[in-house]
Symmetry: C2
Subunit: 152 residues, 2 copies
């Protein structure tokens, strides 16, 4: 490694602001969801399933959508099964495959919780930014997401 290009003051401030903001925000949202017996990971699964046709997704697709390993998802779904939020169903087309399916109780849960969670996202993030800032943020992040996805 030659002489490293250290971060400038401004770059460092931006990078550290991002890290701090994210940690604080996720911690807060997770804490708020805990009042409803959900973790932020539970919630993310519920959202993905609730938005999918048949309220179901293949395990691998769900793992990709939530950006986590198949193993982790498998454990996560097992826990959510225990809580009655989802069930597993065999995939008829591909006998290796499994669907994670939103249960009725899972559906009722997300219907009840979503308004509170969205309020939290607004209160602690969206409503603290202008429309322009949100637009800029998406513009800035889209290429980074694409870059990082290409590396996987």
């Amino acid at each position: 490694m030659g002489t490293p290009r250290w971060l400038s003051q401004a770059e460092q401030r931006a990078w550290r602001a991002h890290l701090a903001m994210h940690k604080l925000l996720l911690h807060r949202l997770d804490r708020e969801l805990h009042e409803f017996g959900l973790s932020i990971n539970d919630y993310e699964i519920l959202v993905n399933l609730s938005e999918s046709p048949g309220r179901r997704m293949r395990m691998s697709d769900l793992a990709d959508a939530t950006i986590q390993s198949r193993s982790r998802l498998s454990h996560q779904i097992s826990r959510m099964e225990d809580k009655g939020l989802v069930t597993r169903e065999d995939c008829p087309d591909d006998r290796r495959g499994t669907f994670a399916v939103l249960s009725d109780q899972g559906w009722e849960t997300i219907k009840q919780v979503a308004p509170h969670h969205v309020a939290g996202v607004r209160q602690h993030f969206v409503d603290l930014l202008t429309d322009d800032q949100l637009e800029a943020l998406e513009q800035a992040y889209a290429p980074i997401v694409a870059h990082l996805k290409s590396l996987r």
Copy 2:
């Protein structure tokens, strides 16, 4: 809860872009650090200690600086002690207190690893953004950080 104010399409895109970007980015940086036997959490501790006078910090200050619980930090420092990266020392002023202190090995480790990590931060984040975007990002996030810190 009255009629919830759902997120607009644009708000949702920005919010989800943030979540996806962060997960992918941290996962990638963590993976790169693993080649040097460090987790991203180890690294963050090492940076904080290396920048502090006497290469040491009180446990509580370090917990605040890295935004984690005292319990979690305590376990983390124990693991890093086992790896030889840090040591604990009693605080002479306050007999309840403990310092986490960077060991010589910890110092050598961060000196060696930092250039690689910074290169990663550049490659996957900083260099994909313009100076204006970085500036905007810091401007946008500073008030959110302040807001969230006030809630703790």
